[in-house]
Assembly symmetry: C2
DNA sequence: GACCTTTTGACAATGGTTGTCATGCTACAT
DNA sequence: ATGTAGCATGACAACCATTGTCAAAAGGTC
């Protein structure tokens, strides 16, 4: 997997990129470009929306942040603790995210791909649910 | 999983829905609402775009077609052979789709969820790659 | 056919994302 | 420090998939 490791193209240090970076560092949950931009505005930091989009996209391309598509189809970004390939379990209600690694799943996808002759494979795997905190809050003992 | 099975709300039979249904029956690969609409136009069948969207959404809600989000974020639909829960391996180049079922993966997601106290969980899992045919065509022996 | 309800479709509106391009700034050499 | 070359930025337009609107059309029923 990942045959050609991009050397992560050299990038210039700019105020805007630092700002985006900072928000990402402080944010536990996945965040959309729009929301990140809103936060920057709130803080009085002026950064163009297009720049936020570009910056996040670049970070994602370089594998420096993880991306996932929300149910609504929007892209959401997150700086993750571990660097290796992994997946996420996200709370639908509060966004609480747990990073999960499943070697077995990775093996399985590879074997399935090989079995059918598919090459250059990648995959997406996300788990959505309600985290314990949110479940306790709204669900009560006899949930739903 | 799926505690409340919707009895699939009664629907009226209309020319438009039949048309969409027919295309879905003939189409092996995942297809977007836009593309399906285009096909209908090609065939001279006049069906409003909004209607195509509504019809596909309804079918998806009723679980009569599977949905996935393309890399570009568009929704794509497909009538699948098996009725039970399963996933897909899709060719990035030609769209060739293989239905795959992985009991182990299902068990794994459930155990992970339980382990972290997440409830009411669902998941998405898609494999993308290049099918044997497309690989042979463009890739050649010393691919890339 | 009469009648009521659902469905349709043309078009506007939405909303996330990307393209444009003149201007700004970083990095680096002088 | 100054100059320069080229990447980066931002305001705004453009895109494009998807959804909302609502009067007109069609399905189902008696
Ligand atoms: Zn939560
Ligand atoms: Zn994986
Ligand atoms: Zn193919
Ligand atoms: Zn599954």
């Amino acid at each position: 997997m990942s045959p050609q490791e991009q050397p992560v193209k050299e990038q210039r240090r700019t105020r805007q990129r630092a700002a985006v970076d900072e928000v990402l560092d402080e944010t536990e949950d996945f965040i959309s470009a729009q929301d990140l931009h809103a936060i920057l505005r709130t803080r009085g930091m002026s950064v163009g929306l297009a720049t936020v989009y570009r910056t996040l996209q670049t970070l994602a391309d370089d594998g420096r942040v993880d991306v996932l598509r929300t149910a609504g189809g929007e892209a959401a970004y997150r700086r993750c603790a571990r660097d290796e390939h992994h997946h996420h379990m996200v709370c639908r209600s509060c966004g609480a995210t747990v990073e999960i690694a499943g070697p077995a799943v990775e093996r399985w996808t590879n074997s399935v791909a090989k079995e059918h002759g598919y090459v250059d494979v990648s995959h997406t795997l996300e788990i959505f649910g309600t985290c314990p905190r949110c479940a306790a809050q709204s669900g009560g003992p006899a949930g739903r």
